[in-house]
Structure formats: structure tokens, C-alpha cells
Symmetry: C2
Subunit: 354 residues, 2 copies
């Protein structure tokens, strides 16, 4: 639809795919799925099916400007929204909303992360189209929820009223412990929070005025510069005054008119080597082998190397082996939560490798 | 001593240190001990203490000419003896012997491998000096034997008469099975065969005439070319006619006048990643970490990487991790015998990495 606008949030910094992800090249810029396209590029391709490509905005940190331009050369400069400092998702989405409002006050807006995977693109297009249609008709804040396939403790959950369409959201729940996750999973009235939001531009601006009035005032200062050469500097000058808060905490959990549309489209936030292993196609020994890899007597491994390097693995069960540039990681898959600490340690002691 | 001459045998080709050792750069050219010097360079340095450096000959395969010249620039061209085709140690030693005979018919000659490690250089100098002295006085074929420190099944053994000095050799034994190795180890009258031989040039030439007369005749054809510009071509033309046999099988096991001098100088043939792990200094968790390596919850590992690459290892026990150039090997240390087959497989399927 020509009044559909999308903002792709591409400012995140991650360490969990180290050594493939680095400070200067986080996950969204990596081809973690082995498709030849980065997660950001796949996200762009996905939304370019829902609206004109020129209606897609990319919100990112100034340090990733070159990577964005390299990976998405078709996006014109004016569609890249720079956050000079990190302020979580609420300010990034508000900036995009005021920008879209200046282009089309009747727009329906989509906000999505750049670094998630969607395996069933067709199913996603269907649920997104349906949600866009709902959002065009109803003055509500819509989120797309994912039907859980396991009691995952790494995701936020949404409790919803299952017998209506669209379904009002009853509760947003933080990442639960395993017992709680089990209960959510078995109950049938909880969905995973995918972080994909859809709303009329009027609806989200109204919600910001109501729940984050100070931050709303910050972005009023840039309105007259939007679309001019002065936009970037104007935003740069005020951005740090915005509240450092997520859209979930700042808006969604407070608003009354929140709806969710359930979907089942192979979604993952690809938050770790483990979750990448989960969603990737495996060989008969449950190995995911990405690159030029030969394995003997090994199973349940996630191996990712550069295509021009031969990796020979013998006798390993349940390991991540990630070889990239000037660093190699070999780590038990079950201990992957240690990776964050290990990378913090790398950053402190070996900054050249971080 | 000025009449001491040494030939260092540097023609071997090995696969067991893959990916560090490659077809075009076998073990003798690698700094496996992490000293900054290759095994060949360390061997040269060792014998340069026993005789004038210009008395040291290097026997090698033609394909390693550039590596020899790069690693031993102090060796003049005339001291490098090229084998155009592989014919095991007997022909290589005979070529060196006729060459040395042309320089000094009263020479005492040492033959040694280029790719073994000696950890106690001082103890080695003592036993070598003693053996040179015996060999200068007695018309025998001397070998230096190593006092076994364990019932190793990877070495050949020498049974000797322990109550005389020098000690006549009673028997050469091939690599034994574990029970036999245990018996040898406990008996006290067996030594490891180090492959270091010392003899008067007259004695070894006489032994060749007696036990390998055909091969002796082959090298008679090159005598008049030795030391001339025509030497290399003359050798090239006849070398393939020499018998493909080791000095052990061809001479030592047949001769009657064979003596052994026992020594205890931290010798290893460094035949595998395992044996390298055995002889290298270990950290408190029994890891050998060579390169820029950080380990967590890991022990008994042999890790070797390039110094400019950060290797992070978590949760591994008893593994070889070898990262070099365009290849990475991760393999259970106890399964290292599979490495040979794995490398054969690499050579067949991925010749660029072999």
C-alpha cells in the first residue's frame, strides 16, 4: 500500500555472535543464515513486498552509516535516520514516526527489528497484510505475536484474548523463568513478542504525547528541519535529551488500545549461536556446517567459518566453532551464555579483536 | 673437531602436523617448539657446536631448496645435497658419505634427522662428544640410544650389552606392541633408536660396499663430479637407481660392528601433536597454548595458532586445536592417528589445503 511506511531498527550492537559479530559490525549486518544476504538485507527485502521501497526508513547508529550504505545501496540518504547516541527503541521509533507524519499524516507505520529471522516469508506476508488492514481501520497499537513452539525463556510473552479478532492484549510479560515459560506455553493464550508493531501514524503519535510527553517535546524541535539538509544536525543536537526507554516499557505496556495478531512464520530473534543452530537446516548428525567444513564423529555442532578456509572437526558433540577474521571461538553450545563474558574480557584485554 | 662432518637429513615429508605441516612445508621447517626457530634450524645450531659450520651438509629433496636457503642462509650451496626422488635414508647417507670422503677421507661423520627435538642440549653435546671420541678410535658403526622414559610403541628399540663401554648392539627391534614395549622398558637393556649415527667415513663406506654393493656402484658414477658444477646433474641422473631402503634395514641391522652409546637428553621424534604436547611446557591445567590463546574450563589441550589470531577455547578436554593459514583442525588428542587419514582425504578432495 502506498500509505504504508516501515522503519527498520538497525542500530543494535551485539556480542553474542562473536567473532563474526564485532563492535563495528553487529549481527544485523551478517549473513548468519548462510543465504548470501545479511539479516538487514533480508528484512529490507521482506518489507519491500509490503510497501514501495522508498517508504522504508532505516534507523541506525551513526557508526554504521557506511555499512548501511554498502548493504542497502538502494536506500536514499534521506531515508536513513541516525541516532547519534543509543537511546533504546522508543526515541528511534518516535523519530521515525514524526518523519513519516511529515511525509503522510495518513500513513500506517510498521516498526521492525533488522536482526531477526523469518523462515516462512509467505506466512509472514499474510499476517502482516492482515495486521496492516486491521490497523488501517482501528485506532489501536498492533503487534504481531508469534505462536510459541517451545517454552523459551529468552523471549518476552504477550497474553491475549484468544476469542476475538483482532485480539486485545491482556498483558506483556518479561522473559520468564522455565516454570513460568512452561505454563505460558501450555496455556495457549500466550504469544512471543516479536517486536513487530503496526499502527496509524496518528495513533502512535497520540500515544507518545500521552505516555512520553517529554520525549515528544524533544522531537517537536526537529519538525521544521525534517526533509531538509539540516535534519541530521537538528536531530544530532537534541537526540541525547530523549528518554532511554524501550517502546515496550514506554508505550505498549501502558496503552489501553493494544492488539495482537497471532502468526506462525518461523520467527527467531537469532539471539545466540544456539538459536541459530536451532533454526538452521541440519545434517543427519544435527550439525549445522556453514563454510568449507568436514566433520568426523561429531554431532549437534554449529560450525561457521569463512568459505575459503577448510575446517576439519573430529570428535565434538554440542559445540559452537566460529572462525572469522582474526579470531576463533570454540565453546560448548550449552555454555554459550559465557560468550558474553568472554567477549567482555576480549574487549578489555584484546581490543583489536573485539 | 675439524675432521667431524655432519649430514642433516631434511628430505622428509610429513602430514601429522597438518594444518601447520603442508606438502610444501613439512615438519622440519616448522617452529613446533615455539622457540622462534624451526626444528631444522635448531638441529643446525646443535651440530654447529660439534664441528665447523662449513662441515655441515644438508640432505634434502629438490622441492625444499628454497626453504633450506631461506632458513639456513649460512649454508653454502655446495653443502646442500639434493635427492631428486625419495629413496629413504641409506642412499641419502651414502651420497653424503662419498661427498665427505672426497673432502676428508679421515673424517668422522655424523648423520642425524632434521625434525627431532632435543630438550637438554648440554646433555646431548656430552654424549655426542663421547660417541665421536669412540668412533674416532674404533672401526665401528655407532648409534646414540635414548634411555626410555615410558613404554612408547611409536619408537624402534635397540637391545644392548649394558656392562661394556662402548656397548655392542645386540638387536634392533621394530616399533613394538604395548606388551613388548612394556617388557623392553622394564628390562633396562633397551634404548630408543634416535636415528643419530656416528662413524668413520671409512667404516660406513666399507659397510655400504659389503651390504649394499649395487647402491654403492651407483654413487661411484658421481665421484668425479663431486665438488664441481656438474655434481647436482650427475646425482640427478643416477639417484633413482639407488635402492629404496633405510640405513637401519640396509646397514645397521646387518653389520656386526655396531655400538650404541646411551644418553638421556630429552629426545623426541615429535611425531605427532600428542608427542608435541608431551614435551612442551604445560600450564597448570596441562594445556600447551602456542599463540594468542585464552582458555576457559579446558585442560590437556594442545592449541597452536598464529600469533596474530585470538583463539578462545571453552570446555574442551584433551583436544588438538591447530589453526594455520587456510585450514583449522580440531581433533581429539587420543584420536590423532585419524589425522593421517583425514589429511589424505583433504589431499584427495581439497588439494589447495594439503
Amino acid at each position: 500500500m502506498s500509505n504504508t511506511y516501515v522503519v527498520i531498527l538497525a542500530g543494535g550492537a551485539g556480542t553474542r555472535f562473536w567473532p563474526h559479530s564485532r563492535e563495528d559490525k553487529p549481527k544485523q549486518f551478517l549473513d548468519v543464515l548462510g543465504t548470501g544476504r545479511s539479516l538487514l538485507q533480508m528484512t529490507f527485502d521482506r518489507f519491500a513486498q509490503l510497501c514501495p521501497a522508498e517508504n522504508i526508513l532505516i534507523s541506525t547508529n551513526e557508526k554504521y552509516e557506511d555499512l548501511i550504505k554498502e548493504q542497502l545501496p538502494q536506500v536514499k540518504s534521506g531515508n536513513i535516520l541516525f541516532e547519534p547516541v543509543r537511546r533504546n527503541t522508543a526515541p528511534a521509533i518516535l523519530y521515525a514516526a514524526v518523519k513519516i507524519n511529515s511525509l503522510d499524516p495518513d500513513a500506517v507505520m510498521v516498526s521492525a527489528h533488522s536482526d531477526h529471522a523469518i523462515l516462512d516469508e509467505q506466512a509472514f506476508q499474510q499476517v502482516a497484510t492482515k495486521t496492516l488492514s486491521h490497523a488501517g481501520e482501528i485506532d489501536g497499537l498492533f503487534t504481531i505475536g508469534v505462536k510459541p513452539t517451545r517454552p523459551d525463556t529468552g523471549y518476552g510473552y504477550i497474553q491475549y484474548q484468544t476469542d476475538t479478532d483482532p485480539s486485545p492484549v491482556l498483558n506483556f510479560e518479561e522473559k520468564p523463568d522455565l516454570t513460568t515459560a512452561q505454563r505460558f506455553f501450555e496455556s495457549g493464550d500466550y504469544l512471543w513478542n516479536s517486536g513487530i508493531f503496526i499502527w496509524q501514524i496518528k495513533a502512535i503519535l497520540h500515544a507518545f504525547e500521552q505516555f512520553l510527553p517529554d520525549t515528544t517535546k524533544v522531537f517537536e524541535k526537529v519538525k521544521r528541519d525534517l526533509g531538509t539538509e539540516g535534519e541530521r544536525l537538528a536531530v544530532h543536537n537534541v537526540y541525547s535529551q530523549a528518554e532511554d526507554i524501550s517502546i515496550d516499557h514506554g508505550i505498549m505496556e501502558k496503552a489501553e488500545n493494544v492488539f495482537v495478531v497471532p502468526g506462525d512464520f518461523g520467527w527467531s530473534d537469532v539471539g545466540s549461536w544456539n538459536s541459530l543452530h536451532d533454526i538452521r537446516k541440519k545434517d543427519s548428525d544435527l550439525n549445522v556446517l556453514d563454510g568449507n567444513v568436514v566433520v568426523y564423529d561429531s554431532n549437534d555442532c554449529m560450525v561457521k567459518g569463512p568459505g575459503d578456509k577448510l575446517i576439519v572437526v573430529e570428535g565434538l558433540e554440542g559445540y559452537v566453532i566460529a572462525d572469522h577474521g582474526n579470531a576463533l571461538l570454540i565453546c560448548k553450545k550449552e555454555n554459550e551464555k559465557k560468550i558474553k563474558d568472554m567477549v567482555v574480557n576480549v574487549r578489555e584485554n584484546n581490543p583489536d579483536y573485539s
